[in-house]
């Protein structure tokens, strides 16, 4: 795979280096992308879990979502039992839950508000409409018969955002930070999705190269929108090592960890060469190391050893990558959005 070449060909146009970008804006725009990507992935997770879960009593399937989001403890403070209704409520209606869709969207919108002078009017407008639609969600929308439709709506609204951004957002430094945010989040979410299913389907006792029941893989790949692409590249069945390779290392699948790291890498190197941001270097070094470690993995070995520790390590590295940007570019005192306690009126 030649990610640099791919990147250079697919993103040839960036504006020149004249315009400066406030550090605070850079952080906000990165968070904007992350929150939207997070919502899309949460919708995908809920949708796939609903399909996987064998019935109302399948608590393990729903706990898995809570576990990978680190929400188990918070959840059981509010609910006694994890099932489709309670978990959907927790993630889709509960505004007090910081990892819920309404909470993520709230913060996406607050960051967009901060960035209003920078982003396109269309981006802002769609964000507003989306936000009001999510605030209007009711318990009925979460009923088993409606949940898939709702997840689909969330997914499409996020994709609309992504499309508007692709078509209207000026490609300068701010676009670079937006793009980094999207790819970091997407890489992170794909590792979580892998964890939720490989942790369950494959354990160390099963051979990774043994074909498994097609239904679950089918659903997993559909959840990331990669079913047909996978069939096309692997026409002979579902081998776990192939699915793992596809989601971790494939150079052309938009949600594979490897592709997202390659794209983040390319954008970071643009920030260094085109915009002269020296502060990007630590993150750039980390992403290079990460890509090296990832590409040297043997899927069969990885699955035999158990994939979870590797995925955990990957998630930790991705969060350190974000931290590199915070400490070297955004700087500690530049939180993206902090509620002001002081106010003043204007005549």
């Amino acid at each position: 795979m030649s990610a640099e070449t791919l990147g250079a060909e697919s993103e040839p146009e960036l504006s020149g280096g004249a315009a400066t970008l406030l550090a605070r804006y850079a952080e906000s725009v990165l968070w904007l992308a992350r929150y939207i990507e997070r919502i899309e992935n949460l919708a995908r997770l809920l949708d796939v879990t609903k399909t996987f879960a064998s019935g109302a009593g399948d608590e393990a399937a729903w706990v898995a979502i809570l576990r990978i989001n680190g929400d188990v403890e918070q959840f059981y403070k509010k609910h006694s039992f994890a099932n489709g209704e309670s978990v959907a409520h927790f993630y889709l209606l509960d505004r007090d839950n910081p990892t819920s869709v309404p909470a993520s969207l709230h913060w996406a919108r607050e960051n967009a508000r901060t960035l209003r002078a920078l982003i396109s009017t269309e981006m802002w407008q769609q964000m507003n409409v989306f936000y009001s639609q999510v605030l209007a969600l009711k318990e009925d929308d979460l009923l088993p018969a409606n949940l898939s439709r709702l997840c689909n709506f969330l997914k499409e609204a996020c994709q609309t955002h992504t499309g508007i951004t692709e078509g209207t957002f000026y490609r300068d430094q701010s676009w670079c930070f937006y793009t980094i945010g999207r790819h970091l989040e997407r890489a992170d979410q794909t590792t979580r999705l892998l964890d939720i299913k490989f942790g369950r389907v494959i354990d160390s006792k099963q051979a990774a190269d043994q074909a498994v029941e097609a239904g679950e893989w089918n659903t997993l790949l559909r959840a990331v929108g990669g079913y047909h692409a996978f069939r096309r590249t692997h026409p002979h069945g579902f081998l776990p090592r192939d699915v793992a390779h596809f989601l971790l290392l494939d150079g052309a699948f938009p949600r594979s960890v490897g592709l997202n790291l390659a794209q983040a890498d390319w954008v970071m190197s643009q920030l260094r060469s085109r915009y002269g941001l020296r502060g990007i270097l630590p993150a750039l070094e980390r992403v290079d190391t990460l890509r090296g470690r990832l590409s040297s993995q043997n899927m069969v070995d990885l699955l035999r050893r158990g994939i979870s520790p590797f995925l955990d390590w990957m998630q930790k590295e991705l969060s350190l990558l974000h931290a590199d940007l915070v400490s070297n570019i955004f700087s500690a005192e530049h939180a993206p959005v902090k509620p002001q306690t002081q106010t003043q009126s204007q005549s």
Binding site: L22, R116, Q125, N128, Y275, H334, Q342, Q344, S345, S347
Partner: protein, 494 residues
């Protein structure tokens, strides 16, 4: 005045087509019908065009415009939740029209006033001639809470203190323009002017079609040019920024709008840092120099070293950098003394003193309660007068004599006597009305006008300005906090 449930009152010349049914401005000057004035063909055409649209269709278009605002997140909301705090003034569909000769009067009058304000500010922070000559009482200026001692002896670039001025103008029952107050600190509302025009163009293409109306969309360019003109000299490409208190400020929408229109960064206090008397902003590539700051932050928050020490919105050392001539702050600090309601009473004399001209735009007759004569008059005529605290803005604390009960008057009399120097009084101006879309049809509602003047080397006035309308029947206070809305303002080409 006419009420919504009294549709039979109709004077001669009132159009009779659908939406106009029951429209009666009564004794007030109507900005659209202009009874008693020579017919203005464009106005007649607009009246007819409006009349040709059924009421239901007008409401339909108004709802579309409201949805437009809502979707763009710039609307005010009837729910008291804080999700759409950006825009406070609702939009009324029916435009307010200003003829070319009327605009000439307003434009020259505003320019004259801004020139006088800047000369006055320079004088009171330097030689204080106007005080020594006894034209304005010294204690009124020097003891004013808007007077900033730190500004004494400091020369601002181009002598411009008030770069952006909003002059609040009303019309009386004879259609005469009167200045209600000057806003020389951080006047807001210009974003509505431009947004309202966009809304009108979308909602009323058939009303506006073929009419020659002065455009409003060059405001950002003019403002940016002025900010560059007042930047410290010897800077090749001055960097302008807009300093905002942040996204929770009620005028944040406008800050965004202005930053975008000027194409400059919208910064908050913590984005800026002063090093060695120079101002920088924190960027992804490190610190970048800043030369002009259009600040939408009040004086006392600007620099914790000089003003409120607890300000977290300002920038430490900013005032010093300004005094060293390394950065320009617009509007200047200490302009509040000039738009004070007590100083306002002296504006005609201030204009004459500096410019040897009579004021083109008259003041509303004003009694200063700090003076014995003014206080006595006010106490004697409490039921006829509007009494205003001098230090408040936003329509707060205003006492409306004609609408008061006996006990309210007694309560207020005690308040006034306890602190007379805090008040001025004025006769109740019978504010002009403009047809406004109400549930039962077009109804007369009171309006004012705030033109915006931008001053760098010289002064430019945005054609039109913000027309605020008191949406509640009978109300004359047009502030957003008091149930006011806004209208598009059309200035006809000469």
């Amino acid at each position: 005045m006419a009420t919504d449930d009294n549709p039979t009152l109709r004077t001669e010349g009132t159009p009779t087509a659908g939406s106009w049914d029951g429209y009666d401005p009564g004794a007030f000057f109507c900005e659209m019908l202009r009874l008693g004035q020579d017919a203005e063909p464009i106005l007649a055409a607009v009246i007819e065009r409006i009349g040709n649209v059924p009421l239901g269709e007008l409401h339909h278009r108004a709802r579309d415009a409201e949805r437009d605002l809502l979707e763009r997140g710039i609307t005010f909301t009837v729910y008291s939740d804080a999700t759409a705090i950006d825009r406070i003034l609702p939009f009324d569909l029916i435009p307010r029209i200003i003829t070319a000769p009327e605009w000439k009067t307003i434009e020259t009058g505003v320019k004259q006033r801004v020139a006088a304000l800047n000369l006055f500010l320079h004088d009171i922070y330097h030689d204080q001639k106007i005080l020594k000559d006894g034209v304005v009482p010294s204690e009124l200026v020097l003891g004013n809470q808007g007077y900033c001692k730190e500004m004494i002896g400091f020369d601002v670039p181009q002598g411009t203190y008030v770069h952006i001025c909003g002059t609040d103008i009303v019309r009386d029952e004879n259609g005469k323009f009167l200045v209600l107050e000057d806003n020389a600190r951080t006047p807001s509302g210009v974003s509505y002017v431009v947004e309202n025009r966009h809304l009108t163009l979308r909602a009323l293409p058939d009303f506006i079609s073929g009419l020659k109306i002065r455009p409003v969309d060059e405001y950002g360019l003019r403002l940016h040019r002025a900010m560059i003109e007042v930047a410290p000299p010897d800077v090749a490409n001055p960097q302008v920024v807009l300093l905002s208190p942040g996204i929770y400020n009620s005028a944040y929408f406008e800050h965004v709008f202005l930053a975008r229109e000027m194409g400059v960064p919208l910064v908050e206090g913590h984005d800026l840092i002063v090093l060695d008397g120079r101002v920088f902003m924190r960027t992804t590539a490190g610190l970048a120099a800043v030369h002009t700051i259009y600040r939408r932050l009040n004086d006392d928050f600007l620099d914790p070293d000089v003003f409120r020490a607890d300000s977290t919105l300002g920038v430490r050392g900013l005032f010093d950098a300004w005094k060293r001539g390394n950065v320009t702050i617009a509007n200047a600090v200490g302009t509040g003394v000039a738009d004070d309601k007590a100083i306002y009473a002296y504006m005609p004399r201030i204009i004459r003193y500096y410019l040897s001209e009579n004021a083109i735009l008259s003041n509303v007759q004003t009694h200063i309660c700090a003076e014995d004569e003014g206080l006595a008059f006010t106490l004697d005529h409490l039921e006829e007068l509007v009494v205003k605290p001098v230090a408040e803005s936003g329509g707060y604390g205003i006492f409306l004599g004609p609408f008061s009960s006996k006990s309210e008057r007694e309560t207020f009399r005690a308040k006034l006597l306890a602190d007379p120097s805090n008040y001025i009084s004025q006769p109740m101006v019978k504010l002009s009305v403009s047809p406004t879309l109400c549930p039962t049809g077009l109804r007369p509602r009171h309006v004012d006008l705030r033109p915006f003047a931008v001053t760098g080397r010289d002064t430019w006035v945005l054609p039109g300005g913000l027309t605020r309308v008191a949406l509640r029947e009978g109300t004359i206070i047009v502030n957003s906090s008091q149930g006011g809305g806004s209208k598009d303002t059309w200035v006809l080409e000469a």
